[in-house]
C-alpha cells in the first residue's frame, strides 16, 4: 500500500513504496506483451487527463495506461478549455470534479500545481509534471528501465547530463535514485546546475569525459533552445562539443554505459544519432515501460493490493 492517496512527487517517498511501485509495474509490463493488453482493474473509474502544457508522449502514455486498465477517460487540454476565458485552475477542476470523476492526471507549468489540486479535490491526483519541480512517473520508468537492464539500483552509478537546473526529470530521478541507494552524478555547464544541489547527495561534474568511465548509466536530458537564448550558455555548438554524447566520446572512454533519454531528443545536440540508435540505447524501452509504470501508479492509487491476474 502507498501511504498517500496522491502521487505528487518522489521527494520524501519511502524506498519501500518506490520498490512496491517498481515491482507492481513488472507485472503490468508482462501484460503489455500479451495479445490482449487489457485488464478490468479500473472498470467504472473515471480518469481526467488535465494537460495545461503541451505534451505528446506523457499524455499518450497515460491515456494508454488508463485504457489498458479499462478506465473511462476524459481529456482536457488548456488550449480547448475555459482557461482562455480567465477561469481559475481551482474553479476548472472543481467543475470537473462535480461531474463525478475519480482520478486526475495533471501537467502544469507551475511547480506545486498538483499539490494545489490535492488540497482542493477529493480525487486522487497524479503529477504528470509540474514546472521544473517533479515528474515522478518519468523517474519511476527510468528506474524501472535501469533495473530491467542492470538489476537492483543500490550501488549503481547514474549520471544525469545537461540542464539540471530546469529539469523536473532530473529532480525526480535524484529523489528516487538516492532513496534506493544509487550513486547519482550530475554533469552540465555550471550555469545549468542549480545552487546547493550537492546537499541532495549528488556529485557535481562539468567535464563529461571524466564522468563516463565511472558511470553505469547516462541519462541525457533535453536541452531547451530557449536556455541558450536567455544567456545561460554561449552557443549550441559549444554545448555539443563539450557535453554532447557522441560515439567518439563513448568509444574513447571504453566503458559499457546504458544510454537513456526522456525525450524528445535534439539529435546532434545533446545526443548524436549513432548513440541514440545504438544497441546501448534503451530509449524506446523507456517509452514502453512508461505505460507499465503508469498502470502500476493508477492501480495502487485506486487502492489495489491483490496480485494482478
Amino acid at each position: 500500500m502507498l501511504s498517500s492517496r496522491h502521487l505528487l512527487g518522489l521527494d520524501g517517498m519511502p524506498a519501500a513504496e518506490i520498490t512496491l511501485l517498481l515491482d507492481t509495474a513488472r507485472s503490468f509490463r508482462e501484460i503489455l506483451d500479451r495479445p490482449i493488453k487489457r485488464v478490468p482493474t479500473l472498470q467504472g473509474k473515471t480518469v481526467v487527463n488535465l494537460f495545461y502544457e503541451p505534451s505528446t508522449r506523457t499524455r499518450i502514455s497515460f491515456e494508454l495506461a488508463e485504457k489498458r486498465m479499462s478506465a473511462d477517460i476524459v481529456n482536457f487540454s488548456a488550449s480547448t478549455s475555459s482557461v482562455k476565458k480567465g477561469e481559475t485552475l481551482i474553479d476548472t477542476v472543481k467543475n470537473i470534479e462535480a461531474m463525478k470523476i475519480d482520478m486526475v492526471v495533471v501537467r502544469h507549468s507551475s511547480p506545486g500545481a498538483a499539490h494545489l489540486l490535492s488540497r482542493v479535490l477529493d480525487a486522487n491526483i497524479i503529477n504528470a509534471g509540474d514546472g521544473g519541480h517533479e515528474h515522478p512517473t518519468q523517474a519511476l520508468l527510468d528506474m524501472f528501465t535501469i533495473r530491467q537492464k542492470l538489476g537492483e539500483l543500490e550501488g549503481k552509478t547514474i549520471c544525469l547530463v545537461g540542464d539540471i537546473a530546469h529539469s523536473r526529470v532530473a529532480l525526480s530521478n535524484i529523489f528516487g535514485l538516492k532513496a534506493l541507494g544509487a550513486r547519482v552524478l550530475v554533469c552540465g555547464p555550471s550555469t545549468l546546475i542549480p545552487r546547493e544541489i550537492e546537499k541532495l547527495g549528488v556529485e557535481v561534474y562539468h567535464n563529461i569525459d571524466e564522468v563516463i568511465p565511472q558511470t553505469d548509466v547516462l541519462n541525457i536530458l533535453r536541452i531547451q533552445l530557449e536556455r541558450q537564448e536567455s544567456g545561460l550558455f554561449p552557443s549550441l555548438r559549444e554545448y555539443h562539443n563539450y557535453f554532447g554524447i557522441t560515439r567518439e566520446r563513448l568509444e574513447r572512454a571504453d566503458k559499457e554505459v546504458v544510454i537513456m533519454h526522456p525525450g524528445p531528443m535534439n539529435r546532434g545536440l545533446e545526443i548524436s544519432s549513432d548513440v541514440a540508435d545504438s544497441g546501448h540505447s534503451v530509449i524506446l524501452e523507456q517509452v514502453t515501460n512508461g505505460i507499465a509504470i503508469r498502470m502500476a501508479v493508477l492501480f495502487l492509487l485506486a487502492g489495489g493490493k491483490s496480485e494482478i491476474q
Binding site: 485552475l89 509540474d130 521544473g132 529532480l171 546537499k199
Partner: protein
C-alpha cells in the same frame, strides 16, 4: 441573508470618555527611559496625570490594566492601503481599522496606488480621507512620476502637502543617476528616500529565495545578491550625496552587514525589517502556500538569525510590516501566478514580541515601533507625559493567542500566520480623542 462563515461586523472607533483612568499598567516610553508601574489619567484627550492617581471619588471611566503595558502609540511605516485604485483589497478606512486592531495609532502608506501618490492632489485626498480617523495616515510620496523611475516628483510640493518620505516602493530605482538626484533633492527637504532594493535583471521569472529549497522545489530563485548589490550601490550614493537612505524590508545577512558598516562610517542610512523575515524561512515555501510568496522572499535560517542580531545591535532601526493585502482569488492560484505579498498590520505586534522578548528588553522592542520610526520620518513622537495628547498603545505582553481570519479587520486574509500561536497581544489604542479595543 446569512452565510455559514461569519465576518466580523463592521467596527468603528469609539469616542474617548471625557475622563478616563488607565489603572495599574506598566508604563514604558523608550523616548524618555520611562519604565514603571503607574496610572494614567486622560482628560479630554490629553494626559493630565502620570503616576499614582487616587481612584477614590473618581467619576470617569476606569480601565484596569494590571499586567498590561502602556506605551506611546505605535507606527507602522510600511503599509499598502491600496486606495485609490484597489479598494476591493483595502481602503484607507479598512486599513486604519486593521492598524488600530493590531495596536497601531499611525501608519505610512506607500505610493504604489492607482493613480500613484505622485501629486499634491492625491496626498490631499489621503489626508482628507483619514483626518477624522483614530489612525494617523502619513502618505509616502512617489519618488518618480507615475513611479516610472525616470523623472523626480515635485517633492517640495508633496512634502508641503503632508508627505513624510519618498519611495517608488515595490519597484526598485534602476537608474543610479535618478537615485543620486532623488537623494540630493530629498536632502533639501530633510526627508528619507525609502528604497526597495532588488536588481530585477537577476529576478525575472523568479519566485522565492534562491538556495537549497528553491532547488528542491524547482522554483527559480531570487538570489540574495539581487538585494545586496542594490543596497551597496545606494549606500555609496547616500555617502556621496549626504542624503538619507532608508532601506525597506531588509532580508539578508550580507545586507545587514552592509548597513552596519555604512552606519559605522557615518553614512546617513537606516533600515527596517518585516516580521515575516525574522520569523519564517524559505522552508515554509515547501507547502507551496502562496501566502509564503513575498518580496523580498523568505530567506534562510542564517539570514533570519542575522536579522535578529541586526535588531539587537541597532543596525536595524525599525520593524514595519509591509502590509500587502491581496484578494482571496488573487492568492488562490498556482504559485507562479500568485502576486507577491502578505498582510501584517494585525500580526506584527504579536510576531515581534514572540520572536524578540527573550533576547531584547521590552523598551527596545517598543522603540522599533515608536521613537525610531518617528525619528526617521522627522515626526514628533508621542510621549507618555503630562500635557501631551493621549496617543497610546496598550498590549498584553503575556497573552497567548492565534490570528484567525474571521477576526481580522483588513479586507484580506493573505497571511501565513493564521493559527500560529503568538505571545503578546494588542489590547487597546487611544489617539485623537478616540479609542479602539482590539477584537483579535
Amino acid at each position: 441573508m446569512k452565510f455559514s462563515r461569519p465576518t466580523t461586523s463592521k467596527k468603528a472607533f469609539q469616542v474617548l470618555p471625557e475622563r478616563l483612568l488607565l489603572r495599574g499598567g506598566r508604563l514604558i516610553d523608550p523616548g524618555q527611559n520611562l519604565d514603571k508601574k503607574g496610572d494614567l489619567l486622560i482628560e479630554n484627550g490629553t494626559i493630565s496625570a502620570v503616576g499614582a492617581v487616587d481612584p477614590a471619588g473618581f467619576d470617569g471611566e476606569v480601565l484596569d490594566l494590571k499586567g498590561k503595558v502602556v506605551s506611546p502609540g505605535w507606527i507602522d511605516m510600511h503599509v499598502h492601503l491600496r486606495e485609490p485604485g484597489r479598494e476591493d483589497q483595502e481602503t484607507i478606512e479598512s486599513g486604519s481599522l486593521a492598524a488600530a486592531n493590531g495596536g497601531f495609532t499611525a501608519v505610512c502608506c506607500m505610493p504604489n496606488t492607482n493613480p500613484a501618490i505622485d501629486s499634491q492632489e492625491i496626498i490631499q485626498y489621503i489626508v482628507d480621507r483619514s483626518r477624522s480617523s483614530l489612525v494617523a495616515v502619513h502618505p509616502i510620496g512617489a519618488l518618480t512620476k507615475r513611479r516610472e523611475g525616470k523623472e523626480l516628483t515635485e517633492m517640495l510640493d508633496l512634502v508641503e502637502q503632508g508627505a513624510v518620505a519618498v519611495s517608488d516602493d515595490h519597484t526598485p530605482v534602476h537608474s543610479a543617476e535618478v537615485m543620486r538626484h532623488a537623494l540630493e533633492y530629498a536632502r533639501m527637504v530633510n526627508i528619507p528616500v525609502i528604497a526597495f532594493e532588488e536588481d530585477t535583471s537577476m529576478t525575472r521569472n523568479a519566485y522565492m529565495n534562491e538556495g537549497f529549497v528553491s532547488t528542491c522545489l524547482g522554483l527559480r530563485g531570487i538570489p540574495r545578491v539581487a538585494e545586496e548589490t542594490m543596497i551597496a550601490r545606494d549606500i555609496a550614493l547616500a555617502e556621496y550625496t549626504g542624503g538619507h537612505l532608508h532601506v525597506a524590508h531588509i532580508s539578508t545577512r550580507k545586507a545587514v552587514e552592509l548597513v552596519r558598516a555604512a552606519k559605522a562610517q557615518g553614512v546617513m542610512v537606516t533600515a527596517e525589517v518585516a516580521p515575516h523575515h525574522f520569523t519564517l524561512t524559505d522552508d515554509a515555501v515547501r507547502s507551496f502556500d502562496t501566502n509564503t510568496k513575498v518580496k523580498p522572499p523568505l530567506r534562510t535560517e542564517d539570514d533570519r538569525l542575522a536579522l535578529l542580531e541586526g535588531l539587537k545591535d541597532g543596525t536595524i532601526d525599525v520593524i514595519a510590516s509591509d502590509h500587502s493585502p491581496f484578494a482571496w482569488e488573487e492568492k488562490s492560484t498556482e504559485f507562479i501566478y500568485a502576486p507577491f505579498g502578505i498582510i501584517g498590520l494585525e500580526s506584527s505586534l504579536g510576531l515581534a514580541l514572540s520572536a524578540l522578548r527573550d533576547t531584547m528588553p521590552l523598551a527596545d522592542i517598543i522603540a522599533k515601533f515608536t521613537i525610531n520610526p518617528y525619528r526617521i520620518l522627522r515626526l514628533e513622537a508621542p510621549q507618555i507625559a503630562e500635557g501631551q495628547a493621549a496617543n497610546l498603545t496598550v498590549f498584553d505582553p503575556e497573552a497567548r493567542w492565534q490570528p484567525e481570519a474571521d477576526k481580522l479587520l483588513s479586507k484580506c486574509s493573505n497571511t501565513p500566520f493564521l493559527g500560529r500561536t503568538l505571545s503578546g497581544k494588542p489590547e487597546l489604542v487611544i489617539h485623537r480623542g478616540k479609542m479602539f479595543k482590539s477584537v483579535l
